[in-house]
Symmetry: C2
Subunit: 206 residues, 2 copies
């Protein structure tokens, strides 16, 4: 999801640019973004038909530049929707990736629908955990504690999620079909990539 999302935002783009960008987002702290993973993942996605790979020569040097295919765009949409909806017990990283890609790939209505699915899922699993508290004699005490942590944390996430859904419905949240109302500061490293991107585009005849 992260690779497809990065290609989506920066295409046409090479592996090193993605690596640099993800590192600057500090994504490397919690996601697998070793160089090997990035280049391997890009190759796999190309093999699966989600990316198109162009081997260019740029300044006397070979560069592999990637673009999304239609299938890749669909896959990304699916992955982001799934990441927003799925409730994992202890690992929110897929949700965080999906949420950070949300403004670039989803319309307000798509986002709202996925987040409502998540809200319902959270409410349901919360009911299950409430049950564990009830029959707490049948379960070791530290397991009950674990359930309590999940419960408390989920209450907090639910409150946050309700607010996001409200803001989304009220148009207070940027998505692909609304105005961002935000521009990166002029010293943002993203600007450095624009020159490369434009050069790659013209080489590909865009």
């Amino acid at each position: 999801m992260l690779l497809l999302g990065a290609v989506r935002i920066f295409e046409p783009v090479n592996g090193y640019q993605i690596r640099r960008e993800l590192t600057s987002w500090q994504v490397d702290r919690w996601a697998n973004v070793n160089p090997g993973s990035i280049y391997g993942g890009l190759a796999t996605l190309a093999r699966q038909g989600h990316l198109l790979r162009h081997d260019l020569v740029d300044g006397g040097r070979e560069v592999s530049v990637y673009e999304l295919t239609d299938s890749g765009r669909e896959e990304l949409d699916r992955l982001v929707a799934a990441g927003l909806q799925a409730v994992e017990l202890y690992d929110r990283s897929a949700f965080m990736v999906a949420f950070s890609l949300l403004p670039s790939v989803m319309t307000t209505e798509q986002a709202r629908r996925s987040l409502v699915v998540r809200r319902v899922a959270l409410e349901q699993t919360m009911a299950e955990f409430a049950e564990i508290k009830m029959r707490s004699e049948a379960v070791p005490p530290h397991v009950v504690r674990s359930a309590l942590l999940w419960y408390d944390v989920t209450v907090a996430e639910l409150a946050w999620l309700r607010e996001v859904i409200d803001d989304l419905a009220a148009g207070r949240f940027p998505t692909a079909d609304t105005d961002w109302g935000w521009l990166p500061p002029p010293d943002d490293p993203g600007w450095q990539m624009n020159a490369d991107r434009e050069r790659y585009r013209s080489m590909l005849g865009r």
Copy 2:
């Protein structure tokens, strides 16, 4: 950590027993407990000297049975302490594994010390996130939202953690050096493993 912990609790034990046990804990929902991972992981830990492997013949059938070494016990202690202390942004699973192993490997005082380290770490990173809210103009709005989620969730975890630490200090929490005050119900599948364990023990001359 999970493998060492499981061996610690059930040793001498074979791979299939661990697989069955972890599945019954529903750990397989959020941890990598495919058969291949388990057998591969046990082999790796044996190669590293943390486990001792005995190839027994049980009922005309070959079985590989594992026990912890001293080095394995030390490694487990280290891993559990690290898992309790380390604050990962979006992935609590290492903490949950460590927390679930806490009662079998740590004394009350060891546990309290590790959890206090965690509390301090949580308080510190919360301060960092409060800063992000301050300079929120320099950051895209959905990134601010992500930070808010982390903040809210961490407030909840901190409240939970303070309670656990209090209970630990007051002796209201079972650890390796205190009475459990809890026994599994008589139909617990854990009892089924005792026969195998005893047989393995006698085969190994214990």
